[in-house]
């Protein structure tokens, strides 16, 4: 009788076995499939302007101010709850898409506006701006390539407890807090050293110290006032308002293929209602975003129309996506190799690897 082989668990660290394997297999920093689109049309879609993001940011800031004012006014009564719910989602969830779009430099045409929004939204979503700028750069280079992508939300087998804790950003915030202390002491973690260049590291240390100083000031304010109200406005909303971050964020790649060089196979595009699209800044068009990251959020619906015939059928709603994601994650707990295979339209061919590639599994 032949011996049976048990697959080894994947190594998701950036300095482990699968990092070396991805390089050996030629899927690290590789060329990815792009849907064909005429250059003139793409140029039109890539065009930057300040108008849409100025309008959306004005609405966002006004909603933050009004909901905070309501929360403060009704503090101590149950009437404060809906105001803090709105404030929390705007602060702790929709800051994710603002962080993301401004990080790409595509939200505004004017560079400094992107930078201001990037730093403010990074603080709100409790991410360190320099670390995450570089981790997200790597995520775009090596989307869901095991051992290369630092932003794989659901490694296999999935850690369901961690996912549940992150509904209120508990595990992720604890990790960030630990990182802040490490960075404030002038050190990086080994994984981070693989993607943050030497010349950028001073920013990591400086921002960590600023974040900790702000949190210390909030704690002092709470003690001084004898109330958690200051923390309800700054700091805690990243937790109590963070649930929409994971609700939107998990739909991007969870349960789809790893180690393929075709975003149509490892990324979802989902149709969402206008409110969700405002909160999420059109990142529901996620295949389109990954394939053409220079296209601003407000042009993604037009890009979707341009390339949809070359892409899998979009999910009709977030709920529809979760009907696939939840059973897939639960099955992956027992069968880590299981994943959803996206079907392309008739006549379209997936391009998981570059021509001539030979992919060797981990030994």
């Amino acid at each position: 009788m032949l011996p049976t082989m048990t697959p080894t668990p994947r190594d998701y660290s950036l300095i482990g076995r699968d990092a070396a394997l991805a390089e050996a297999n030629g899927i690290a920093a590789a060329e990815w499939y792009s849907c064909p689109i005429p250059r003139k049309q793409l140029k039109e879609l890539m065009k930057r302007s300040d108008g849409p993001a100025l309008r959306d940011t004005a609405i966002w800031v006004a909603a933050l101010v009004l909901s905070a004012a309501g929360g403060i006014h009704f503090w101590g009564s149950w009437w404060a709850v809906p105001f803090f719910l709105v404030y929390g989602v705007l602060y702790g969830s929709s800051s994710d898409s603002r962080w993301h779009e401004a990080g790409h430099g595509t939200a505004f045409k004017t560079r400094w506006m992107n930078d201001v929004l990037y730093y403010v939204a990074s603080f709100m979503i409790l991410r360190e701006p320099t670390v995450w700028r570089w981790s997200h750069t790597r995520h775009h280079t090596d989307t869901i390539i095991v051992g290369r992508d630092p932003e794989i939300a659901v490694p296999r087998p999935p850690d369901v407890v961690a996912l549940l804790l992150n509904i209120f950003a508990l595990k992720s915030s604890l990790m960030t807090l630990k990182s802040l202390f490490i960075h404030a002491s002038g050190r990086l973690k080994p994984d981070e050293a693989t993607f943050i260049p030497e010349m950028e590291r001073w920013k990591v240390y400086l921002v960590a110290r600023i974040y900790l100083a702000i949190f210390a000031a909030v704690i002092v304010a709470c003690v001084w006032m004898g109330s958690i109200l200051p923390a309800m406005l700054v700091g805690l909303p990243s937790l109590y308002g963070g649930f929409m971050t994971i609700y939107f964020g998990l739909t991007q790649h969870a349960g789809l293929a790893e180690d393929v060089l075709d975003h149509r196979l490892n990324t979802r595009t989902i149709y969402m209602n206008p409110l969700f699209r405002f909160l999420y800044w059109n990142m529901n068009y996620h295949v389109e975003h990954h394939m053409f990251p220079m296209v601003p959020y407000h042009a993604l619906p037009r890009l979707h129309e341009a390339i949809k015939d070359d892409c899998p059928e979009p999910y009709p709603s977030t709920i529809a996506a979760y009907r696939e994601i939840i059973p897939t994650i639960l099955r992956q707990v027992r069968e880590p190799a299981f994943h959803v295979i996206r079907r392309l339209p008739d006549g379209k061919t997936p391009v998981p690897y570059n021509h001539g590639a030979i992919i060797n599994p981990a030994e």
Binding site: A29, R111, R133, P293, M294
Partner: protein
């Protein structure tokens, strides 16, 4: 080493405010035309992760890489911020009789 001017393309091959790829002798370059009809050349691949800049977006004197949105001033080669940290090589360009010529050392 003598000057080597390479006949790269017609001026009309590049739209205003745009960039094209030009391959020569195993090397790849990016050729730019500004809105006011000035022509420039740089190495073709981003210094960050070797992506062809010809797929990127020209905004004034800036070329933005199509993969990670890193920016260079293509008239000087200067890197304009993360994720590009290393300047890109530039090459002299001249226009003669409607042709764009690039000087490659």
């Amino acid at each position: 080493m003598p000057e080597q001017w390479i006949n790269a393309c017609d001026t009309d091959d590049i739209d205003q405010d745009d960039v094209i790829r030009f391959d020569h002798d195993g090397r790849t370059f990016a050729l730019y035309r500004t809105e006011d009809d000035r022509f420039f050349a740089t190495d073709g691949l981003c210094t960050h992760e070797k992506v062809h800049l010809s797929g990127g977006l020209v905004m004034g004197n800036i070329i933005e890489c199509p993969k990670h949105n890193g920016r260079f001033d293509f008239t000087t080669g200067k890197a304009k911020g993360a994720p590009v940290c290393v300047d890109i090589a530039t090459y002299p360009v001249k226009v003669e009789d409607g042709r764009v010529l690039i000087q490659i050392a």
